[in-house]
Every structure is written in C-alpha cells, then in structure tokens.
C-alpha cells in the first residue's frame, strides 16, 4: 500500500484537517477514502466523528467539543501507518440521464458556438467522458466532478442567474455538475437531469458518495418526462455499475 506524506493540523476546537499532497489525483482520493474506511472500522469512538473528504483533504469533526489534538494526531498517524489493505468501500459508476433539449439547455447553443462545436458534438463529448466525484458540498447533494476534457472548458457566465432550476446540468471552467435544487448560479446550463440527487426522506439522502464516478447519457423529452414521474413516485431504477478496485 502506497503511503503519502500527510499533514495533520487542528481546525478550530472540534475538528482536525488531514491533507495529502496538493493535487487532483484519483490515487490520492482513493487513499483518503481507504484511510477514512479504516478509521471508521478501527478508531476508538469513531462514531463521534464526522468525516468530510474533498479532493486532497479529509476533515474530521468531533461531535463533542474540544479534542485533545496531540493525542488524537498520534493515534491518527498510527491509524494511517498501520492501516491494512482492508477491502475498500465499493465504488460505483452511476449512469445519469440528461435531456439536452434546448428548453432545458438554455446555454447549449451559445456554449457550442464558443467551443467551436456543433450541438451534437458538445453533447457527444459531455456524455463520452467519465467523471470522478471529488467532493460533495456547496449545496446538499452537489457533486464536485473532476475529469472534464479540455475541449469542454468554458468561462462562467459573466452575470450569474438568480434562479437556476433543480436538475440543471452545467459547465463552468474545468467543472461540470448538476444543481441539486433551485439556486442562483453562474454556470452555463446545457441540459437537465430528471433524477433527484438528494432525497431528504431516505436514510441515505444522497446515493452518490465521494469516490464514485458519473457518466451522463442523452435522453429524449418523452423519456425525461417519464423518468421524472418515476423519480417522484420513487420507482426509478438507478443504473449503476460496480467499479473494481
């Protein structure tokens, strides 16, 4: 098992920040998630800690205030050094439907022109690539997706919209993603995903976890309407594929 040089620092009174080398890499992300898994299994009182992984960091937040930092740092280092090759958490590739109709993809024409592509080619590029979930944050169920090809990099809109609709699929800079709820936003909107990424009535409100992968596929307006109803009634079958470690 490869080992990185990690830094462990206090983050206020009740949290600890662990950082891996400062780069976007799947190997680092998976090392963080493997460590998080062995922490949950092997660390005394791990149930009192909340773990937030994102890109090259893992933040541990204690439920009760005030932690003994020196002691905890020592234990965490031990935990990292001695972590065994436990079976890492199962990762999934989620296939998410997107309707790229211009009714939804209100910026699709403009973005395609800027990128020097036909609308079809923009859709093809967006659905061809597989994206890795490097973090979930900003809004409940909002995924930070890595792996956007250079050919799809665009500037954010100069004036953000006051309202972007739930499910909107956007492009901005090196990022692509889905707005999990209505919110203001400055991304270029190219389509809409009928599947809810966040369901407050489920024990696990968001089926995606950090480390999973996402691939989009294009659907027609009729399929969109159908999936939307299936989602609302709770009978939509998510298309997922196990990723081998």
């Amino acid at each position: 098992m490869s080992s990185y040089s990690i830094s462990i620092r206090p983050f206020g009174e009740d949290a600890i920040l662990i950082e891996w080398p400062n780069e976007v890499s799947e190997a680092i992300l998976y090392d963080i998630l493997d460590f998080a898994a062995s922490f949950k299994l092997g660390f005394k009182d791990s149930g009192n800690w909340e773990l937030v992984p994102a890109y090259n960091s893992l933040t541990l937040i204690n439920r009760e205030n005030k932690i003994d930092f020196t002691k905890t740092k020592f234990l965490l280092l031990e935990c990292y050094k001695n972590r065994k090759a436990i079976s890492p958490p199962q990762r999934y590739l989620w296939k998410l439907p997107v309707c790229y109709d211009l009714d939804f993809g209100i910026d699709l024409e403009e973005v395609s022109t800027t990128l020097g592509k036909s609308i079809e080619d923009t859709i093809k590029a967006h659905t061809h690539h597989i994206y890795t979930v490097y973090g979930i944050g900003f809004l409940p169920g909002f995924m930070y997706l890595g792996g956007l090809p250079k050919e799809l990099e665009t500037l954010r809109k100069s004036v953000p919209r006051l309202q972007v609709y739930k499910g909107s699929v956007g492009l901005a800079g090196k990022q692509t993603g889905i707005y999990p709820q209505d919110s203001p936003g400055g991304w270029n909107i190219i389509g809409n995903c009928p599947i809810s990424l966040f369901n407050v009535n489920l024990e696990n409100p968001c089926f995606v976890s950090v480390g999973d992968q996402i691939q989009f596929y294009a659907i027609t307006r009729a399929e969109y309407d159908l999936h939307r109803i299936e989602t609302e009634v709770g009978i939509y079958n998510l298309d997922k594929i196990k990723i081998d470690a």
């Binding site: 620092r9 206090p10 937030v52 994102a54 439920r63 944050g137 900003f138 409940p140 696990n204």
Partner: protein, 281 residues
C-alpha cells in the same frame, strides 16, 4: 399547539443541529447562539437537544392553545405576556389563550424561546432545525400551528438565573485557520488591530465584515468548512461562515472562531463592531 399570530422578522425552530450528513453537503444547522439556547432549555429541565425557537431582531406574536411553561434567553427583546412585561431568564407559566409578544430590541440580535418538552416540529435527517429544502419551511409563517406538549403543573428547580452580561462584548477569539500562512504582515496587523463592522450581508449562513484587508490571488482545492470558519475572498473581504454555512469551500480559511465566539457573533447585527483576538494552540 402554539399559534403564530405574527411571525416576526425571521423566526425559526432550531436544535443542536444535524450530525452525520456533512459528507453529503448538508450544513450542520442548529442554534446560532447555542450557549443561550442551552440555558433556555436548562431552565425548564429540558434535554439540551430539545428544539427551541430562534427569534431574530423582531419577535413574533404567539398564542398558546395549550397550557405550557416557557423561558426566554439570549438577546433582550422586551417580552410581554398578555401585554404585561415579563423577565427573560425566568420560567413562566402560560395558560390556554395567553399571548406572548416581543417589543423593542434592547441588546443582542437573537432570542431563544424554549417551552417545556421542546417544540415538536418534524424531524428531518435526525434534527428539527429549519433549513430549506431539508425541512419544508425555512421560517415560521402567520397562522402556523407549532406542536408543543401540554403542561399544567411544573415546579422548576431554579425559577430564574441572572444572565451574564456578555452580548455587549465585541472580542472574537480566533484560532489559526488552515490557510493562515497566506496572510502577509500588513494583513495580520489589520486583522488584529482593526475593528471590523458587521456588513448588511449577515444571516444564518454567513456574516460578512465590511472592511477589506487586501486582495490575494491564491487558488486552492475545495476543502471542508465549518461554522466559524473565516474565509478570505480574492477581493480581501472576510466572510465568517455560520451554522447554515456551506460544508465545503474554495476560499482560503484564514481563521477559525472559538465555539463561544460563534455564539457571540450571532448576537451582532448590521453596523455592530467586532475585533479579532488570536489564541495560540
């Protein structure tokens, strides 16, 4: 039930917050001034996790349709019961039909109303704390009926406590944040000698400070943020995240407020002044 006759400026139900959903992007939520909220619950011998009403700036007008016992702590908003002034930090009995109102804001910015047994609004993701879209509502509305338990008899162990005068303090205790090293000498000097003014943009998500401390162009990978995290925007503005603040962010986290200073900041409003005092680990 407790009937809302007038909702006040911004009134919500809060408890100690949501634990265990931050990796899905759900803010911790909960009482902004958890210190005062906890006192309101203790006066009634409630559990610390019982939900209270968080009242911001201007209080609501509420009618008890069930007899109950209640207490009010935090910012002083001149409460009255059936038009007669009552003391904060004291246990009061409410009979069916009694009307609780609030008047002038004397100090602080947020009051906490606790009822015996707590407010019994819906539990979503293990907490009753209002936060849209996790809960259906983001604040109480006119004519809403809030479930509470009926109590006719209760003799409190302590009928009142003398509040510590801490709302008027203006010093926030801060730890070094993860990107503290980014701060240059002149910025550090400004941070720790200046007084800062609370900006108009202050709410349960974040408090912005008006004075800028100098621009930067540092880029970092998105990482976790906490209530009390002080972010530095590229323009040099300081944003202090609060209980409904986002769980991750891409701005440098230069400082981190001590827990009790988050409670103190929650009692500050537009144009109030605060200063930052470093505490070494």
């Amino acid at each position: 039930m407790l009937k809302v006759i007038q909702p006040g400026f911004f009134t919500t139900i809060q408890d100690t917050g949501r634990f265990g959903y931050r990796d899905k992007g759900v803010p911790v939520c909960g009482c902004m001034d958890n210190y005062s909220a906890s006192m309101a619950n203790s006066l009634l011998e409630n559990d610390d996790t019982d939900a209270v009403m968080e009242i911001t700036m201007t209080g609501p007008k509420l009618e008890f349709s069930t007899s109950s016992f209640f207490s009010i702590t935090g910012g002083e908003m001149s409460p009255t019961l059936n038009g007669i002034p009552i003391n904060s930090y004291e246990v009061h009995k409410a009979n069916e039909g009694d009307v609780l109102s609030f008047g002038k804001l004397i100090n602080g910015f947020r009051s906490y109303l606790a009822v015996k047994g707590g407010f019994l609004t819906e539990v979503k993701l293990k907490s009753r704390s209002f936060y849209k879209p996790i809960t259906d509502k983001n604040r109480i509305k006119e004519r809403m009926e809030i479930p509470i338990e009926k109590y006719t008899e209760y003799s409190p162990i302590i009928s009142h406590i003398k509040p510590e005068a801490w709302h008027d303090k203006h010093e926030l205790i801060v730890y070094k944040g993860p990107e503290y090293k980014l701060l240059k000498d002149d910025q550090l000097k400004l941070l720790f000698t200046n007084k800062f003014t609370i900006a108009k943009e202050n709410n349960r998500m974040a408090y912005q400070l008006e004075e800028l401390i100098g621009a930067h162009s540092h880029k970092m990978l998105t990482s976790a943020t906490l209530p009390g995290t002080v972010q530095l925007t590229p323009a040099g503005k300081l944003i202090i995240l609060m209980r409904d603040g986002q769980t991750t962010g891409g701005y440098p986290r230069v400082l981190q407020l001590a827990t009790k200073s988050i409670a103190l900041l929650s009692q500050k409003k537009f144009k109030d002044k605060v200063s930052l005092r470093p505490l070494k680990h």
